[in-house]
Amino acid sequence: MTAILPRETLIFTIARLLDGVKLVAVGAASPVPAAGAMLRRALDDGRRTVRLSVLGSVEHNFFTNGSAELFDCAGQGRLDAFFLGGGQIDGQANVNLVGVGDYPQTQVRWPGSFGSAYLYFTVPKVILFREEHTPRVLVEKVDFISAPGVSPPGVYRPGGPVALLTSKGLFRFDSGRPGFTLESVHPGHDAAEIAAATGFAYETPAIVPETPLPDPATLTLLRGRVLDELAETYPAFAAEWRRDLAALAA
């Protein structure tokens, strides 16, 4: 069996999560989500048009109405999927992009909420993606709610989180409960390790499956067309990926 790189598992998982989307946007410095979207587009080729917008990119940005257009698209219901990271993410899927400590004089300051306080409400499929899987990031309660995981009845909320993907595993989010359920663990990790690394409570099925890996055809697409496309926008990331592939083959 072919060895699969950890980042290939992440990219393939994102592509699976994006099944059915027509328009997906990713942030400027987000090569893994971008690659996932590119793989989704490649998989759907000839069957469905999948559009991808990379914010801040000249090449991979078909918007022509300034930086407001992404948010307008979301408001119109045209944006199907988006990614959010977060300095902290808690068990209610609340996201903190602002800082640690008492606001405003936080002792650690992150950049800020960006568009999260809007997109989390309006984009049907928000994928929380944060590679670092530690109790520092996945906390019981965020210090600042940039965007809440759920809203009370009566609040306009067509969008929200569907999943949390880290370097160790994949959680699904149930907005009814609300809370996360561990869906799968990536190769090389296990449920106990994830429990120790997660600062919030979540549900775990009796048997936690391994995260599905790409089949050979998908892997060919991923290491061919997708890697080539990605290299235009994320040359450093693509070069490192290629080096790792060369090392695998050696």
Partner: protein, 266 residues
């Protein structure tokens, strides 16, 4: 230092609300040192909708009282060191927002409306800390349905960099329409450009489509590579090495001062 840039910077008065564009839209880095040399402080920066190097340098130079923004960072070069330090020290007032709220406030000013309604935000700490925003029940719903109202943002001056302007003061902004939105909303607009062209940008429909009319433009000055170390779409790429060099230097106030004292060179 370019006399035109100094003259433009001298229009800025203490306490003004200054609108600045996002990293990739055309930041007039060429205006940063003239603004610092001019020294008008107590500024209220409005990042449209996020800030970066220019905001960090103006904060580092002590000219800033308030930052109204959806985020401040150096992108690939990491956090904004002088901004982050100022937050920690409590020396600037924060008006944390979210991108479409900044756009909504500017749009209200563009339309001459007192406010714009905006979805989202309910239940966030962003909203909780903004006593200048209001929540009402959507009057078109049967009842309930809270919606946030963002008051108009009226900058005193917008400052940005663009590829070209003509002799009449028309500025070509291409598809970076947030630059137009900033200008519409602002009382004055100061623009640096890569080059000044001799033909009227409104004379044919092709260039007119991407042109901000002179009506909205207070002053224009030529500043080749004026976005550097940021890039300018269709012209040149971001100089990430320089951003990294700044990020390292500006970890301390001393390092920042030393960096700023150095000559800017492309």
């Amino acid at each position: 230092m370019n006399a035109d840039l100094r003259a433009m910077a001298s229009r800025i008065r203490p306490g003004m609300r200054v609108a600045l564009p996002v990293d990739y839209a055309g930041v007039s880095m060429a205006m940063t040192r003239p603004m610092i040399a001019h020294g008008a402080g107590d500024l209220h920066l409005i990042c449209v909708p996020t800030g970066g190097l220019q905001v960090d340098q103006l904060v580092g130079a002590g000219l800033v009282r308030t930052v109204e923004t959806s985020a401040v960072s150096l992108g690939e070069a990491g956090g904004a060191p002088r901004f982050n330090q100022a937050v920690k020290d409590g020396t600037i007032r924060l008006r944390d927002a979210t991108c479409p709220a900044i756009h909504a406030g500017l749009m209200a000013a563009q339309k001459g409306s007192p406010f714009m309604p905006m979805r989202g935000l309910i239940g966030t700490d962003v909203l909780r800390h903004r006593d200048d925003w209001q929540v009402i029940d959507n009057p078109f719903a049967g009842g309930g349905d809270p919606v946030v109202l963002i008051p108009a943002i009226h900058p005193d001056v917008a400052i940005f960099h663009a590829p070209m302007a003509d002799r009449s003061g028309n500025v070509w902004i291409g598809r970076r329409r947030e630059l137009a939105a900033m200008a519409y909303a602002s009382a004055e607009t100061l623009v640096t450009v890569e080059r000044i062209v001799e033909h009227n940008l409104l004379a044919d429909e092709a260039t007119a489509a991407g042109t901000l009319p002179a009506l909205y433009v207070t002053a224009v000055a030529e500043a080749p590579r004026g976005a550097w170390p940021y890039g300018l779409w269709g012209e040149y790429a971001t100089d990430t090495d320089e951003l990294l060099r700044y990020a390292r230097a500006a970890r301390t106030a001393e390092g920042f001062a030393k960096y700023m004292a150095g000559e800017a060179s492309a």
